[in-house]
């Protein structure tokens, strides 16, 4: 068994662009739920709007990428307002259900044939990131060792993405430590109490929703850049669940939680897939199992993620960096 191959694959995924994208999505979710108590299950909708806004500006309208990115993030702001204004006054469970439904319906709309002229429908949009990769100052070739290696362009995406992760983490930390953040965290604890103290809680929740949504939109922008295109199949509801898994694994309402959680999530996911692939390539699987598992590493690793989530909740619900006591104090 070639453990270096497995470890290389896992490490590549754990530090790669996907992990950074999920870290950004999870940082946004952390502001939403970890700090403001908003149960957003439609984070993928923000990612999708960030990605598609950028891609539409470039591929459909022939605009500049540097105009496309703010346009995509602007769409996220609009989505947050459209979602938040009717639902943020309601109980959190209503909000959760509305957000997951809204994101999926947005996806159906984007991939529908009436929208094809703008969004490319089921085919998506391609060749959007040329001006981003023009800025790549790295030499050509591969960087790394064995399977743990990246192409020049991948590395360029990673550098930008991880810088954004650091910046967004710092932004959220600074916001949360400000008086604004204090009100937001207070709303998470008890909205009525904060209302009774003269704070317009809906406005604060809306602001938190917008900021976390824009950070999620940034994740979508990076996704569009690294693939140099967009496709609606990349924005299924599952993506939100994975971002949640990363956040919970790392620990809610912590600064490093969403980042470490995303790294670990992708490390484990790719590690498991690679491990199963190795097993079957080495012929170490019994025949029945081998037939069964052939080409199904993806499904197996996601199923195991499911088991992992259940186990995490049963054994360490606060995640890696969370404090158990906070769980019991929470309402």
């Amino acid at each position: 068994m070639e453990f270096d191959v497995i470890f290389g694959n896992a490490a590549r995924a754990g530090l790669g662009p996907q992990a950074a994208i999920f870290a950004l999505a999870a940082i946004g979710l952390n502001l939403h739920f970890g700090y403001a108590g908003l149960l957003n299950f439609g984070q993928v909708g923000f990612m999708m709007l960030g990605a598609y806004g950028t891609a539409i500006m470039v591929a459909t309208w022939g605009g500049s990428l540097w105009l496309g990115i703010p346009f995509g993030l602007g769409l996220c702001v609009a989505f947050a307002l459209a979602l938040g204004i009717p639902t943020l006054r309601l109980r959190s469970d209503y909000f959760a259900i509305t957000t997951i439904a809204a994101a999926e319906i947005l996806r159906l709309l984007i991939r529908s044939s009436p929208a094809t002229d703008i969004t490319g429908g089921p085919f998506g949009l391609q060749a959007i990131a040329n001006s981003f990769f023009d800025l790549n100052f790295l030499p050509d070739g591969r960087f790394g060792w064995g399977t743990f290696s990246y192409s020049s362009n991948q590395l360029w995406v990673m550098i930008v993405a991880w810088i954004l992760v650091v910046l967004c983490s710092a932004l959220v930390l600074a916001l949360i430590r400000s008086p604004w953040g204090r009100v937001v965290r207070a709303i998470r604890e008890d909205e009525d109490a904060v209302l009774s103290l003269g704070k317009n809680t809906v406005a604060y929740k809306l602001q938190a929703l917008v900021i976390g949504g824009v950070i999620g939109g940034l994740a979508g922008v990076i996704d569009a850049l690294q693939q140099s295109g967009v496709g609606s199949e990349n924005f299924e509801p599952q993506v939100t669940f994975f971002a949640w898994a990363a956040l919970i694994l790392g620990g809610l309402a912590t600064t490093v939680g969403p980042v470490v959680g995303a790294v670990l999530f992708w490390f484990l996911r790719e590690g498991v897939e690679s491990f199963i692939r190795e097993l079957s390539e080495q012929g170490w699987l019994p025949d029945i199992l081998a037939d069964f598992l052939d080409g199904a590493e993806g499904a197996i690793s996601i199923a195991l993620m499911g088991v992992g989530l259940v186990a995490l909740m049963a054994l360490r619900p606060q995640g890696i960096f969370g404090r158990r006591r906070d769980l019991h104090l929470g309402t």
């Binding site: 916001l175 008086p179 604004w180 604890e189 008890d190 209302l195 009774s196 317009n200 309402t331």
Partner: protein, 289 residues
């Protein structure tokens, strides 16, 4: 809206004579006209006229389901009446959201204490400050704009906590406090918002006798400093002890109002409409639900 009470068939002559509700006050801080709130056909609150005198301690009493908490919710904007208007210091509050009513000076507490569990005691207090402009998003990242005020907020909060005997808990998470300490914290927090009128919903429920004593002392002190206080209470000892005026509610209506001695002396009223034993000290615990 008429200022006078109309005759209601279910009210006995004796009860009306004892103290007609809706009495005009010399210097009312809060005036309510024609307040009606129904839940599925039941009139939870149906008040023609109610005035609260500035600078007094007013108790609202009545059996469970009398509409006391609903009245609180309506007055503080947490629930919307079917109709009715009310004014605080001459400013109309009808249709205003709760946070604006709080900013206008009417701050409430809740029957079930609402401490912000995962925030520290100091943070609980600081949230209530009305002077911290760093709470606005556009200033949140500009530390130098709010840092000086943060120091003043802390000073005020610590002074209040000192007074309420919570100074030693400043950096504890509020969720670790005992039930009684949370009541104290909630009251201190309400004061931090600099109110002119404080609405306390059952301030002594679930608080041990020793703490109740100090709580009442705080209420008296506050009142002496000029804060008007309205509170819902089941414990008649407390009502008799600290209130200047008592409003009796039953089935959503104001049955009678007057000085505590007068109200409690009117035994027919108490018997008929509160269903309480004559000795008001008995059987209080059963009322807390």
């Amino acid at each position: 809206m008429s200022d006078t009470t109309t005759m209601r068939p279910e009210l006995t002559e004796a009860a009306l004579e004892a103290a007609p509700p809706g009495r005009l006050k010399d210097d009312p801080i809060l005036i309510t006209f024609g307040m009606l709130k129904t839940f599925g056909g039941i009139r939870a609150v149906d008040i023609d006229h109610l005035e609260i005198e500035r600078g007094t301690i007013t108790a609202i009493i009545g059996p469970n389901g009398a509409g006391k908490t609903t009245l609180f919710n309506l007055l503080t904007g947490f629930d919307r009446p079917d109709r009715g208007s009310w004014r605080l210091d001459g400013r109309s509050l009808g249709g205003q959201p709760p946070h604006r009513i709080a900013r206008l000076g009417m701050v409430r507490t809740f029957q079930l204490t609402k401490s912000l569990s995962r925030l520290t005691v100091l943070e609980n207090m600081a949230v209530a400050a009305q002077t911290q402009r760093g709470e606005r998003l556009e200033r949140a990242l500009l530390r130098w704009l709010w840092q000086p005020e943060e120091g003043r907020v802390r000073e005020r909060a610590e002074a209040l906590l000192e007074r309420f005997g919570l100074a030693h808990m400043v950096d504890e998470q509020a969720g670790t406090l005992s039930g009684g300490q949370r009541k104290l914290l909630e009251m201190a927090r309400a004061l931090m918002a600099d109110p002119t009128l404080v609405m306390l919903d059952e301030p002594t429920a679930g608080v041990n006798p020793a703490l109740t004593e100090s709580l009442l002392e705080h209420i008296r002190e506050l009142n002496a400093e000029g804060v008007t206080i309205v509170f819902v209470e089941h414990n008649m000892d407390v009502v008799m002890d600290i209130s200047d005026w008592v409003v009796v509610m039953a089935q959503g209506r104001i049955l009678t109002e007057g000085p505590p001695q007068d109200v409690v002396a009117n035994e027919e009223v108490i018997d008929a409409y509160l269903g309480r034993p004559r000795d008001p000290a008995d059987g209080e615990d059963a009322e807390d639900a």
